[in-house]
């Protein structure tokens, strides 16, 4: 029994146990206030489904040896373009959602390929370069949003009629399509079934990929490039594959996120998307060199629950908006912590 407990302890790791304990403490405190614990958990479920695919997008890039994909906005932009086109044609519900996805995915493949061309030239500096690629792409797209040939009056600025607005609502098109699908309530807890099912589907696909020959090859390239070369594997090919997968997941992640959030935020909206995702996978136990699908799942659950629960609870206890500051400290602190240690996985 004791051995089994130690084994479980080692797989989960101390940092995650502390966070889970802290979460539990927060929930106990919350039950003492006028906050509804079920309501808090409902919010958490939505945010887990909403952010889960972003966090998952970190896994292929880390496993391919490229490190954390700080250039997540590259894929996010593709997702935005997909969503915008679906809105332009007033496609409602699943039609809109699928159109957005079907457009976003090929765009992300192309963008991911170009992004990979760049990253393969700066081997060893991928995370730094990726961060700035992400920032630059977001800035560059600001011009595009102004010039893009969208004509739907619900999307463009009402006065002058040129350029897209900063925030577009999805309420009339496919906002909430997944969240509301098969949604049910139990003990006051609202379960966004469709959203969670879709997340589970994507997780399964990625998990399955790492069981295939190509997935194994990708991991070998990431773990020991010289061994991979000696086994006749092309480093460039599998690094490119990892980056494309990460970018495509970011695009899918965006469409999922937007339908749940209910809005498309343009211009500087996608600027910081990478950071909570990076923090999420690291909290889940990944390092810059080793990440499993399970890390992404555990990470998004812990991180997003912490945010949704901690914010209202601290607001109840302390006057003022301390919780937003706490969120920034936790997420950036986590990134800093992970970047300063090279080991990970089982040592984490």
């Amino acid at each position: 029994m004791k051995e089994r407990l130690t084994a479980i302890y080692h797989t989960i790791g101390l940092p995650r146990l502390i966070i889970a304990g802290f979460l539990l403490l927060l929930l106990i405190i919350a039950s003492g206030t006028e906050l509804s614990v079920a309501g808090l958990l409902s919010d958490a479920l939505v945010r887990i489904g909403q952010n889960g695919i972003y966090v998952l997008a970190m896994v292929p890039s880390i496993q391919a040896g490229v490190g954390l994909n700080f250039g997540l906005p590259v894929g996010v932009i593709c997702g935005i373009v997909g969503a915008l086109v679906a809105m332009e044609f007033n496609l409602i519900g699943f039609t809109g959602l699928l159109t957005a996805l079907l457009l976003a995915i090929p765009l992300a493949v192309g963008a991911g390929f170009l992004y990979a061309l760049l990253l393969n030239r700066v081997a060893g500096q991928e995370m730094m370069v990726g961060t700035y690629v992400g920032f630059s792409v977001v800035a560059g797209m600001c011009i595009f949003w102004l010039l893009a040939p969208f004509r739907n009056p619900a999307m463009i600025w009402p006065v002058g009629g040129v350029g897209l607005r900063t925030t577009l609502t999805l309420a009339d098109t496919f906002g909430g399509t997944l969240n509301d699908f098969l949604q049910f309530e139990i003990f006051g807890l609202t379960v966004p079934t469709g959203l969670l099912l879709f997340y589970a589907l994507i997780v399964t696909l990625v998990w399955l990929f790492f069981k295939t020959k190509a997935g194994v090859a990708l991991e070998v390239v990431g773990r020991n490039p010289r061994f991979a070369a000696a086994s006749g594997l092309s480093l460039t090919k599998y690094r490119t594959l990892g980056i494309i997968m990460s970018t495509v997941l970011a695009a899918i992640g965006y469409v999922t996120y937007a339908q749940s959030f209910g809005f498309v935020q343009l211009y500087n909206g996608p600027l910081m998307t990478a950071f909570p995702a990076v923090a999420g996978v690291l909290i889940g136990g990944a390092s810059t060199r080793e990440a499993k699908v399970s890390h992404a799942i555990l990470g998004v659950i812990l991180f997003q629950t912490l945010l949704t629960v901690a914010m209202p609870v601290t607001n109840q206890l302390i006057e003022g908006n301390i919780s937003e500051i706490a969120r920034v400290i936790v997420s950036n602190g986590m990134i800093l912590y992970a970047l300063t240690r090279a080991t990970g996985g089982e040592q984490a």
């Binding site: 399955l208 190509a214 090859a217 773990r223 020991n224 010289r226 070369a229 000696a230 086994s231």
Partner: protein, 528 residues
């Protein structure tokens, strides 16, 4: 009789239980050129590290024995202390700053300075450089070496041969220099540069500086040495004035080992005369192990031993053919041309490789034993996959296969899921061999398979190579340990300076191996 500049008495050193030096004595008189010769791993570098108080010695528990400088007992705990006692060293790799001038390099960290108002306030770190005096000193040092180069020339762009002289100039510029250690200084020099170099050494010795000269080139030893000391396996095998030796004797003493002929394995099969791998003019650009055009035929079913000293390119052969380092030339495998620089093609043709760099190239350290064993076969031969379009890996089959090899090879582990990093060197090597076996190769390159592993695992690894060979696999076995090559190889090819020096049967006399490794031709060997 005068007091010797350096006397080392009864020096012993063990690294983690492995004895690398056993009771070595060494005496260098004033103005003497003392040559230290021995194979790689004979303990020369360790001895020099002790002399220099290198951290690698102090951090591993120090050494036994006594060290005397000018009859005074010393023990250096840092290179700095050794330098202060008048010992200078020129390393194999150049330790010069390319962006600095010759003078600046010679005077690095020993700059001559003048006081100025700032230094009066802030201390001597801010004193002005006395460039004129520095240049004068540098010039004197260069002149002593017979060097005509400008003392203000930047070091970057100087020919390699000159760099060596700049290093020596730096050492002799130190006023208290009494003993200069030269670690294989001629390895990078051309023949004429080397000749000039030897002249300089003689001149230095005449001026009263003692020289401890480490080299593999026996000709040089005979040309300059006053006294010779030969190390082998950490023991002093012979020492005496040069006149007492001939090149053949030195070669024999260097490599000679009591090869236990009984330990040679009896072979059931006979290699055929059919050539399976024909190598013509192969050049491999592998840093530190460059091959400069080698012609070699490998016969079907044999174990071909590949020997030679480190840095002469024997390791480059397998790395080049397997496409790990850029190579040129022609390689015919089973009569068909094998494309070079194409690892995939080499693997598909039925070649397998156990790398000399076990931890860097041979294994995925963070992965499990099972995965390490099957990875290459899975990727290059589509094995261990479930049928179907997805090509999912067949975990069950992988584990079964791994268990079979763990049993067969006696890999000491907690199970096929154990991470390879946690295994000992010997067991890691067995995993590498298991991976090669799994590929079911027709021709196997094995490089330095016994490096850094314990004696028990060593003999098991050699046995496994022979077993594979008995199954009909041709083996090209590269090793720095001659005794090992002689115990299992059918023929032994010696590589010298990137080219084939010649073939020898495993029962050839020690002296023949020694001479071939030292750059003599087969004819010269036969003549002796």
């Amino acid at each position: 009789m005068s007091v010797p500049v350096l006397e080392m008495r009864g020096i012993s050193k063990a690294f983690f239980g492995t004895q690398v030096l056993k009771d070595v004595n060494l005496t260098v008189e004033r103005g003497q050129i003392h040559c230290l010769v021995g194979e790689n791993g004979a303990g020369k570098s360790t001895l020099m590290n002790i002399l220099f108080g290198m951290p690698v010695i102090t951090n591993t528990g120090g050494y036994e024995g006594d060290l005397f400088i000018n009859g005074e007992k010393k023990s250096f705990d840092s290179p700095r202390a050794a330098i202060e006692a008048g010992i200078g060293m020129v390393h194999q790799e150049f330790m010069l700053l390319p962006g600095f001038t010759v003078t600046e390099n010679i005077k690095l960290n020993r700059e001559l300075t003048k006081a100025n108002p700032f230094s009066a306030i802030f201390g001597e770190k801010l004193e002005t450089l006395n460039r004129a005096q520095m240049a004068k000193d540098a010039r004197t040092a260069l002149d002593r070496l017979g060097m005509t180069i400008d003392e203000w020339a930047p070091v970057a762009g100087l020919p390699v041969g000159y760099l060596q002289f700049v290093e020596i100039a730096r050492e002799i510029d130190k006023e208290n220099l009494q003993l200069l250690v030269l670690d294989e200084p001629t390895a990078v020099l051309t023949e004429s540069e080397a000749e000039q170099f030897l002249e300089v050494i003689k001149r230095l010795a005449q001026s009263g500086i003692s020289i401890l000269f480490i080299t593999h080139r026996l000709d040089e030893v005979m040309a300059v040495a006053d006294r010779i000391t030969i190390l082998k396996d950490g023991e002093l095998v012979s020492t005496g004035p040069k006149e007492e030796y001939t090149i053949s004797q030195i070669a024999e003493l260097m490599v000679g080992r009591k090869v236990d002929t009984a330990s040679r394995r009896t072979r059931t099969r006979q290699p055929s005369d059919e050539v399976v791998l024909q190598i013509r003019g192969l050049r491999v650009n592998m840093p530190g192990e460059t091959l400069r055009g080698i012609d070699l035929d490998v016969r079907k079913g044999e174990i071909l031993g590949l020997g030679g000293l480190a840095g002469h390119g024997k390791v480059g052969l397998a790395n080049g053919i397997m496409g790990l380092y850029p190579s040129q030339g022609q390689v015919l495998y089973e009569g068909r041309e094998l494309p070079l620089n194409n690892t995939q093609a080499a693997l598909k043709a039925g070649l397998a490789f156990v790398s000399e760099d076990r931890r860097g190239v041979g294994l995925v350290l963070e992965d499990t034993i099972a995965n390490n064993i099957v990875l290459t076969s899975m990727q290059s031969q589509d094995r261990f996959l479930k049928p179907g379009f997805l090509k999912l890996k067949d975990e069950k089959k992988i584990l079964e296969h791994a268990r079979e090899f763990i049993d067969k090879f006696d890999i000491r582990c907690t199970g096929p899921d154990q991470i390879v990093r946690r295994l000992s060197g010997g067991n890691q090597q067995k995993v590498c061999l298991a991976r090669a076996f799994t590929q079911q190769p027709k021709l196997l390159f094995v490089s330095e398979p016994t490096r850094g592993i314990d004696v028990g695992a060593k003999s098991r690894v050699l046995e496994l190579i022979v077993e594979l060979n008995e199954m009909g696999v041709t083996v090209v076995f590269t090793s720095s340990e001659l005794a090992e090559l002689r115990s299992i190889a059918d023929r032994i090819a010696i590589v010298y300076e990137g080219r084939l020096a010649g073939f020898l049967p495993p029962d050839a006399p020690d002296v023949a191996f020694g001479l071939l490794m030292a750059g003599k031709s087969l004819e010269e060997v036969a003549a002796r």
